[in-house]
């Protein structure tokens, strides 16, 4: 799939940054972090649109319901993690954000897998 690499790179950058914030006990995350997170969110929204278009035009036998729900849920994970980091202003809040980012990475990998397996 087309946007897997940028999504995974951005998620990794956000994840590493979050680990640094956990180690330094910086919370809540600053504006610059949220700017990067917003870029990730924007790319995920683009992926949602592109994914739906590709799904409707592809000849691959992609499991539609699963694929679509992953496309939507992966977008929701980012604001959920951000909200937890803002509500819980401690290391734990940033830890929860990290869980959300790991989820994005796992879901993105699964999305890619669903697409590839359908092409085989």
């Amino acid at each position: 799939m087309w946007l897997v690499v940028p999504v995974l790179v951005l998620t990794a950058l956000c994840g590493i940054w979050t680990v640094v914030m956990v180690v330094r006990d910086e919370s809540p995350p600053g504006d610059r972090f949220f700017a990067l997170l917003a870029v990730l969110l924007a790319v995920l929204v683009v992926q949602l649109v592109v994914g739906l278009v590709q799904l409707s035009t592809t000849s691959r036998d992609v499991p539609t319901a699963t694929f679509v729900s992953y496309l939507f849920t992966v977008v929701l994970a980012v604001p959920f993690g951000a909200a937890l980091a803002l509500v819980e202003r401690s290391r734990w809040g940033n830890g929860a954000l990290l869980v959300a980012l790991l989820t994005v990475a796992a879901m993105e990998t699964r999305l890619d897998q669903l697409w590839r397996l359908a092409g085989a």
Partner: protein
């Protein structure tokens, strides 16, 4: 700035704060994953493995309840969370064992099959983390 984490004398610590936030994030992920999985399974071919799919739905409900309790907090949420986490622990242990010894019962996988192997064994770890957290926060501090 870290918030003060010491609870007032004679009170129990709120389950929705501190490490509870990590749990809520993890539970929310599994709530969504299990709900999505069970709906897709029941919606596409419910007849193929009714037991497995019903268990997926049960897991989904339990994860949703636990997520809600951890988000809201309070004494009632604590009690409900305890019940759901205990059932969840029992579920993953029973289904995990059965999926190895009675494979014919499960023609398709559930979230709990093989102790949650498909999900990095997190379904096995989560209820025990939940129990630990409920116990940890439930310790009343003496006045």
């Amino acid at each position: 700035m870290p918030e003060p984490t010491t609870p007032a004398a004679g009170t129990v610590r709120e389950i929705s704060t501190g490490p509870g936030r990590i749990l809520v994030a993890a539970y929310a992920v599994f709530a969504v994953a299990a709900t999505g999985r069970s709906l897709v399974q029941l919606g596409t071919d419910a007849d193929r493995a009714p037991l497995a799919y019903s268990l997926s739905l049960l897991a989904a409900v339990l994860y949703l309840v636990a997520t809600g309790c951890l988000l809201s907090g309070g004494p009632t949420a604590r009690r409900v969370a305890l019940v759901s986490v205990v059932v969840e622990a029992a579920g993953v242990l029973v289904v995990g064992t059965l999926s190895y010894v009675a494979t014919d019962l499960f023609p398709d996988k559930t979230v709990w099959s093989h102790f949650g192997q498909g999900y990095g064994f997190l379904p096995l770890v989560l209820p025990f983390l939940g129990l630990w957290w409920l116990r940890e926060t439930g310790k009343a501090t003496l006045p």
